[in-house]
Amino acid sequence: MSYQAAFQISATGMAVEKLRLDLTAANLANMNQAAPTAAAAYQPLRLVSQARPLAFAQQFSLAGGGAEVKAVVPQAVAPRLVYEPGHPYADAKGMVAYPGVDHTAEMLNVNLALRSYEANLAAFTAARTMAARTLEIGGNQ
């Protein structure tokens, strides 16, 4: 396996984790946006990723193909209803619908994406160090 293929595998993982962080940031940004109706409330987005299917030429090598984004799925969670009679979006009972974003889970997601990105970066750095060390073969120490 060439080193560029190893770099690309890490790059696919980093792209997936970057998108995961982006989606989590979008969920956090929309956490407190009230909606006129419960049905119109923002639905938190979740990332579904999968192993990248191997190309035909890659079927014969032992290397994996990296990761890729399969879908971005809005979650149909129940909106959070808050009693705010003075709010312009309040319904007849004085309840306002806020998106059902789970703050704790989103913060965990942030950490997960960050650590996974760092793990991909560590793998990339290891591959790069390996390549750089290989160039030292036979050199003047």
Partner: protein, 102 residues
Amino acid sequence: MSIEAIGAIGAVDTVQPLGALGAPAAPVAAPGFADWIAHEVGQVDATLATSENDLRRLATGQVQNLHEVMIHMEEAKLSFQLLAQVRNRLLDAYQEVMRMQV
């Protein structure tokens, strides 16, 4: 009794003796070392140009993912280091030859 199965052996007579065959075709000349090194230098130059182009697009805000740019830069750096190492080995070999007593 005719033996038809081996009748075709008569066709061997028409085969020309080996000496009459033309000289073997001249082997295809392998690309010279100069061509090879020029090709490799060209490839390294292409990677450097790619990473420079990436940097320009990053500066103008057309790049979505930063890590691709960095990885391309790393690839360019590694290929340049490989080229430099090849040059060092060649220079070593040349100097070794020049030091040889005749």
